[in-house]
């Protein structure tokens, strides 16, 4: 355990020293994954179906603020959806505008979740997101995860029903809009997932704020359990048994990720709890202080044997010893 804590400390120090580089790399990886997924899975507009475009967008996205990167990705997505029809594009635009007006206007710093959530869904590992956000930021931060889930289900539905939107004339525009909206409004599984994520985040956030022992660990286990049970029972009730194994495996992976998050952010030593009481002019304080587990990274000490010191080094050493002993340096010659 000590070795792991040492490695964690070294990693944290490395990230702090190279924050700009690490952030840039993380943004590059996220933007590249998202742009390439749009290119390969949703590349409906042939005029922009050039591999250089998503790569260029990802590289630019690594250097600009995340909000601007999200905007660029949204624009690229809308252009590609235009290939399916202006109706599909307009519905996606309205959804994105709703995301902005309802949430990102208040908390623009969380816009990366709008990209990360669909990417995690595509990689089949979305279940750690509500628990992690509930732990780290609180229940309110699950809203962008829910919005990202809506976008994912919409895009997945478009991909699975491409023929529905590519045939037909302009007079069937309302029909296309209806079909596009039905991918969200009529999708009971989507509402099940969104409700489950919200419940999970609320429970995790509520438990994590309690002053109980191992609050984070209890919150993680409870959140993952509730999430898995709700999803499995929900699928059973809806009569859609596909993806049950995926839910269970995804939940286990999510559990692993959440425990890793706890390891990095919240390591406490409950064996050295201190309780103190004191007062000021206004209040009497009962304080319980739980120390964080800290391990300093071992510094390498190099000891040389048999190396010959120069005269200057010897003189400096003698002067130092003479100063410490408060005697005349000439006595040491």
């Amino acid at each position: 355990m000590n070795k792991m804590l040492e490695r964690k400390t070294k990693l944290v120090v490395f990230v702090e020293k190279n924050e700009f580089l690490v952030k840039g790399l993380a943004k590059l990886v996220l933007m590249l994954t998202a742009c390439l997924l749009v290119h390969f899975e949703l590349g409906f507009f042939q005029r922009v179906h050039v591999i250089a475009i998503p790569i260029a967008l990802a590289v630019i996205g690594a250097f600009v603020p995340m909000g601007l990167g999200t905007l660029m990705l949204a624009a690229y997505l809308l252009i590609n959806l235009y290939g399916l029809g202006v109706e599909v594009c307009v519905v996606a635009l309205v959804l994105l505008l709703l995301c902005f007006t309802l949430y990102f206007r208040f908390a623009p710093g969380r816009s990366h979740l709008l990209i990360l959530t669909p990417v995690c869904w595509m990689l089949r590992i979305p279940y750690f997101l509500p628990v992690t956000e509930g732990l780290v930021r609180g229940a309110g931060s699950v809203v962008p995860v829910m919005m990202g889930t809506v976008m994912y289900y919409y895009l997945r539905g478009l991909r699975a029903n491409t023929a529905l939107f590519t045939t037909g004339t302009g007079t069937e525009a309302m029909g296309k809009v209806n079909a596009a909206l039905n991918l969200i409004m009529g999708n009971k599984e989507l509402w099940l997932v969104i409700g489950t994520f919200l419940l999970t985040a609320l429970v995790v956030s509520a438990i994590r704020r309690r002053s109980i022992r191992n609050a984070w660990r209890v919150a993680i286990y409870t959140g993952v359990t509730i999430q898995t049970i709700c999803l499995l029972f929900g699928k059973l009730i809806l009569g859609n048994m596909t993806g049950i194994v995926g839910v269970m495996i995804g939940s286990l992976i999510g559990l692993g990720v959440d425990i890793a998050v706890e390891f990095f952010l919240f390591q406490l030593d409950y064996s050295r709890v201190e309780r103190v009481q004191f007062e000021d002019d206004f209040y009497y304080y009962y304080v319980k202080a739980v120390p964080k587990v800290m391990v300093r990274a071992q510094e390498k000490k190099v000891t040389t044997f048999g190396a010959e010191s120069t005269e200057e080094e010897l003189e400096a050493t003698k002067e130092k010893i003479a100063k410490e002993l408060e005697i005349d340096p000439n006595l040491l010659k």
Binding site: V91, V94, L97, L98, T101, L102, R105, F106, M174, V177, N178, L181, N182, M185
Partner: protein, 127 residues
């Protein structure tokens, strides 16, 4: 000769101005009531847009049912129902906006006080 303490204070002030201070100092130009009024005004427009978009989506989704009910619909009653829904939505939306604006102004005030303390300390060093 460079005064280390002065450089530290100036660096601290500069970091604040370049980072958190950009937004904090701009909000510090307003009284709290004026700042909240501006936030509520912005929220009114964005909230109205959000309601319109939601209404548009719902109307498009239920267009068939809506067209079927239109001949026998009590239009004034329908308009009143939409207005009530709009007011409820705006109350919640602007309430959230008010709370966020209030908390942001409070935290900006504290940050600006710390910045002013640093500037005062710097001023004293020059005297």
């Amino acid at each position: 000769m460079v005064n280390e303490e002065r450089v530290r204070a100036m660096t601290k002030a500069a970091i604040f101005e370049e980072g958190v201070g950009k937004k904090a100092l701009s909000s510090g130009e307003y009284y709290r009531s004026d700042y909240l009024f501006i936030q509520m005004l912005k929220s009114f427009f964005w909230g109205s847009l959000a309601f319109a978009l939601l209404g548009l989506l719902l109307a498009c989704y239920g267009i068939d049912a809506l067209m079927g009910k239109l001949p026998s619909m009590n239009v004034p009653q329908f308009c009143v129902a939409v207005l009530i829904a709009y007011l409820l939505f705006m109350v919640v939306y602007m309430g959230v906006s008010y709370i966020r604006g209030y908390r942001r102004y409070q935290s900006n005030e504290i940050a600006i006080k710390g910045y002013e303390k640093t500037l005062k300390h710097l001023e004293n060093m020059y005297e």
